[in-house]
Amino acid sequence: MGNTNPIAKILKNSALLLYALFALFPLFWMLLISFKHDREMFNTIFVFNPTLENYRVLFSTGEYIGYFMNNVFVSVGAVLLSLAVGVPAAYALARFDFRGKEDLAFTFLSFRFAPEMLVILPLFLIYQKIGLYDTAFGLIWVFQLISLPFIIWILRGYFEDISPEIEHAARVDGYSWWRVFLKINMPLIKPGMVAAALLSFIFVWNNFTFTLLLAGQGVVTTTVASLKYISSDTVHYGQMAAAVTIAALPEVLLALLIQKHLVRGLSMGAVKG
């Protein structure tokens, strides 16, 4: 795509590199300070004595691992649940024509309108009353507000782009609805599904307000826990950086894993027409 003008290419690459510098420097620096001792935090920049102390503290009590696993469980659970109910919902909104379709679609979207602070207090009271406070399921449920609208709306777009003719044809020829869905629809929506799942996972993984107020000590997540390292005697930036680095790993892993699928999906759909 585009032209092969060498000057344009150099400009493009420089612009890309500039953005990459902007995006990646803070991450690089954060990684750097996770290896710095508190003592050297403020008087050294790139040259210092690296130490694993911050990571050691993180793992020494074993608490952090617990928080980490909490986060994994809750985030994965939330996204899987959203996919399980959201993919069919998106399909229904794309394929069928029925009364109230646009209203329903907009309604799903409107759940994302509610600023967390608007609902957090009544939600807290309700959760305490029905015993969902400080439970993984409670968080998974409330996270649906964040991930479900997103997944439905993205996938609806992808489904709408798939012409119904193919499906009808396959059905008429005796292929079951399920096989049609799996073999035709899924590959075509894969890039979208994968992108939506990854982004939802990230939003849910990093959520702060709900996990702070709807969970106690039973389900502490990494974002809240990372702030623990801003202790009250001094700020342990090194430990916080270490905590954040570890916390980001699952997201990184997920992104790396699905890169393949983003590509595979595209090669299925790109060579068309």
Partner: protein
């Protein structure tokens, strides 16, 4: 994207589209009840999972009509008093302005930057391939943590960026600490965290575009900008609008970044609607007075999204039509 429907040898069963004899689906017999109910049934689980939020939502509306406060045991119904007080308070209008500014600048920058970077990442160079994976990373940092990191880097006493700026002669850039630069600072952090969101969506869209139209455009010899404007843009518009929609929604509600950097200060510079509501609810502990701010925000978001979606569906129609 609309050309996906045309038969393609690499897609299973695609050849059936034209081969099957029973293709007269135009005349569909009257639909029995189960068929009619089917879409609703499919949607039911998703709806059931999320409809529950209406309860806290309406409870909040109820409380906004009272003088419920954490500081007092009892409360009473006060009708629209909280609402009228809010609407006649000049600081409310200031909050609205701050909120809109924030959303406009961050979303605008993210969309433009995101599209630009996605276009550049869509190439097949090694640089693009490598960066494609890595440039999403900022999104993985929770906004509150990202703010702490940026604050540490830009702190005038100990920050590495402040140090770098000083070495090229910029001595007094106060980032979040000065009224003039505070908005810039929070928008910068928001852009840093959220541009990858736009990049991922646009890239997903770009990567599923059919190659043929672009190949013929290249043969015809149009400029890159022309190709972009007439071919690429309309085809990815639906995805663009979703990205825009979600970014608008989320940036209007943004709280953690401003709170973590300046708590709404200096003075009232960054007192957006969420900040004001937080202050009212958790610092002043006047929940009844705080809720109208959030409800008004909800209304804004509702209206903005409604219009964005109308535009989206029109664009969707155009994209499939062309």
């Amino acid at each position: 994207m609309s050309s996906i429907g045309r038969p393609d040898p690499s897609v299973p069963f695609a050849d059936l589209a034209n081969a099957s004899p029973n293709r007269n689906m135009d005349k569909i017999p009257p639909i029995p009840f189960m068929r009619k109910a089917r879409p609703y049934l499919i949607l039911a689980p998703a709806l059931l999972l999320t409809i529950g939020i209406l309860i806290p939502f309406f409870i909040s509306i109820y409380y906004s009509l009272t003088n419920y406060s954490f500081k007092y045991k009892d409360y009473s119904f006060v009708g629209l008093e909280n609402w009228t007080k809010m609407l006649t308070d000049p600081s409310f209008w200031h909050s609205v302005w701050v909120t809109l500014q924030y959303a406009f600048f961050s979303t605008g920058t993210e969309m433009l930057l995101g599209i630009g970077v996605a276009l550049m990442l869509n190439q097949d160079t090694r640089l693009a391939k490598a960066l494609r994976i890595v440039l999403i990373f900022p999104l993985m940092i929770a906004p509150v943590i990202a703010t702490l990191i940026w604050q540490l880097m830009t702190n005038n006493s100990v920050g590495v960026i402040a140090h770098a700026l000083r070495s090229i002669g910029i001595n007094n850039f106060l980032w979040g600490a000065a009224p003039k630069t505070a908005m810039f600072s929070v928008v910068l952090i928001d852009v840093w965290v959220n541009t990858p969101f736009v990049i991922v969506l646009v890239l997903a869209g770009l990567r599923s575009l059919p190659k043929a139209p672009f190949e013929s455009a290249m043969v015809d010899g149009g400029s890159a900008w022309f190709t972009f404007k007439t071919l690429t843009l309309p085809m990815i518009k639906p995805l663009l609008l979703i990205a825009l929609l979600f970014r608008v929604m989320i940036s209007l509600q943004e709280f953690s970044i401003i709170f973590a950097l300046t708590r709404g200060g200096p003075g009232d510079t960054l007192m957006s609607l969420p900040l004001t509501a937080y202050n009212e609810a958790f610092t002043y502990k006047e929940l009844g007075a705080a809720l109208p701010y959030m409800l008004i925000l909800w209304v804004f978001i509702y209206i903005l999204s409604y219009y964005l979606i109308r535009y989206w569906s029109r664009a969707q129609k155009n994209a499939s039509g062309s």
